[in-house]
Amino acid sequence: MSQIPGPLIGLIVIFVALSFLSEYFLTPRNLLNILSQVSAVGVMSVGALLIILLGGIDLSVGSVLALSSMSMAAMYKMAGWPFEVAFLAGLVVGALVGLINGILTAYGKLQPFIATLATMSAAAGLALFITNGNPITGFPDWFIAITATSILGLPIEGVILVAIFAIAAFWLKFRPSGRALYAIGGNEEVARLSGLPVRRAKILVYTIAGLLAAIAGLLVTSRLDSAQPTAGAADLLNVIAVVVIGGASLSGGSGSLLGTFVGLLIIGVLNNGMSLLNVSANLQPVVIGAVIAAAVLTDRKSSRRHT
């Protein structure tokens, strides 16, 4: 909890500034747009936080998004499976890559960076290989409706995003197995000596992260009615950035979903704001870089322990 204040203050400052700079920023429509714009990265960042809490890292997340989306599409359109089955198969593919990550780190004892680098590379290649780079389009209406519908004025993507955050936050805070992640990431030796199933937890968390990447993949596919083999490739750094800006330590054991949500909004609001203000495309990265550093610098004190 102690990590939040810095980024939260940063977020509020950005928020207030943009409200003055753009008349469109504070419209309900735009705020809802931001929510659905961050949904894919947001869903993945939940998985990334869990892994980072364990002291791990997952580089494969973007490739998994693409691979599971392409697998689903290929099974539906090319293999002719019923869509519902293909849909589930897409999720299973994501979870499976996550499971492989988990096995490689927990049993193979590979550094997570290497293990997920390997699966990242392999999944990206496979996603392209399925159709030789072609996107696949033409999905059932109900599937496309997932991202085109609102519940009580909230876009479904946003509802899914918030629900996933809430469930994961509940798990981390109130369930022993979620609590255990902090113990394992904070001090693996203690966790082992306390009889916590360290390897099982790792496998579980990597699998969950794979599944969440697949969910993000399906959201993206639904939104565009198109499965693309290179989707998600650019998201990796964003996903990790969101978690770290949200105050989590890459050395494990500290971080919270509330912080991650703040990090997510910082990135989302910044990108949205710069579009609204028509900031020159070349300068956008400069602004983002500066704002990230500034937002987190205010958090100096609490991050001190982790440097």
């Binding site: 747009n33 894919a40 030789n132 780079g133 693309q228």
Partner: protein
């Protein structure tokens, strides 16, 4: 379509041509990537033509990394291929690859990108004039919105040659339309999802937007879908590429136009020229071979077969 069936009177059994056992000749291909459909289609065309001619192909993809691409030209030279077909990642850095091939005495054909510097020697250069294509497309779009109003541009990855040339072409068109105003310009990196997000924001900030120029079809599609979701109608969405999906979208009225390139054809041509060179009769190949782009709109979309542009593999 002319060149589709045009050449090679000798019929070679296709089963064993792949390993080139017939004449032992090999064409090396250094291509920028194998993710973009443009490059994939070009290589498809090359494979088709090579199959027909009984040549072996070695295809190396540089994953959009110019440095890596020079390495790969080196690797092709190491394998002593007979001709190199070079689809450079980037026009300014292409000279290095050409120079390597020249030094090794291997003829090199440039496709799509031509080296901007150096005094390397190309056997031939086959390309679309991207600047002209973008200019033509933007002009068409400006006419559609009545020659005045707000538009937005979704750019490719900043600094990539295709992005620079397409931006330049549209800027040329803009010079003729003083009343057209660019109110939003953003890079969406050829990516449909990012284009969707960017367009959503641009639409929010610009209630009077009249159209969006996507520097690729994928981005035009993403933008059109964003507008559709926001319930904004009457806008003009145009893209460059001519992908089959874009053909469908134009036919359905989701988007309004695409500038179709002919990578499959260009691929075929490049291999056919390479074969001529390898067989010692390449002297009559012209230095420069520009391929037309075709403006596909709702009016002519029915007459154009997408397979003509991107090959039979694309549906």
């Amino acid at each position: 379509a002319l060149l589709f069936t045009g050449c090679s009177p000798t019929v070679v059994p296709t089963a064993n041509v792949a390993d080139g056992s017939d004449n032992g000749k090999t064409i090396g291909i250094a291509v920028a990537d194998q993710k973009s459909l443009f490059y994939v289609a070009a290589v498809d065309g090359m494979e088709q033509a090579a199959d027909e001619a009984g040549y072996k192909l070695v295809t190396l993809s540089a994953n959009n990394n110019s440095g890596q691409q020079v390495n790969q030209v080196q690797d092709l030279i190491t394998q002593q291929v007979d001709v190199i077909i070079f689809i450079a990642q980037d026009a300014t850095s292409a000279a290095a690859g050409v120079k390597l091939a020249n030094d090794a005495g291997i003829p090199i054909i440039a496709v799509d990108q031509k080296p901007e510097s150096g005094n390397g020697k190309l056997a031939t250069y086959i390309a679309t004039d991207s600047v002209a294509a973008a200019e033509k497309l933007c002009t068409w779009m400006f006419d559609q919105i009545g020659g005045a109003g707000d538009i937005a541009i979704l750019q490719g990855p900043l600094g990539s040659t295709a992005e620079l040339q397409r931006s330049e072409g549209c800027a040329n068109a803009l010079a003729n339309y003083p009343d057209v105003k660019v109110v939003g310009q953003e890079s969406a990196g050829w990516d449909e999802t990012k284009a969707f997000t960017a367009a959503q924001n641009i639409l929010t900030a610009n209630p009077n937007l009249k159209g969006i120029f996507g520097e690729s079809d994928a981005m035009a599609l993403g933008a059109a879908k964003a507008a559709q979701q926001e319930g904004r109608s009457g806008l003009v969405f145009v893209g460059i590429d001519g992908f089959p999906t874009m053909f469908t979208a134009v036919a359905d009225g989701l988007t309004q136009a695409t500038m179709a390139q002919q990578p499959y054809l260009m691929g075929q041509m490049s291999v056919q020229d390479a074969v001529k060179i390898a067989e010692g009769n390449g002297s009559d190949i012209p230095e420069l071979q520009y391929q037309d782009t075709v403006l596909v709109t709702s009016e002519n979309v029915a007459e154009n077969d997408p397979a003509k542009f991107y090959g039979p593999d694309f549906k």
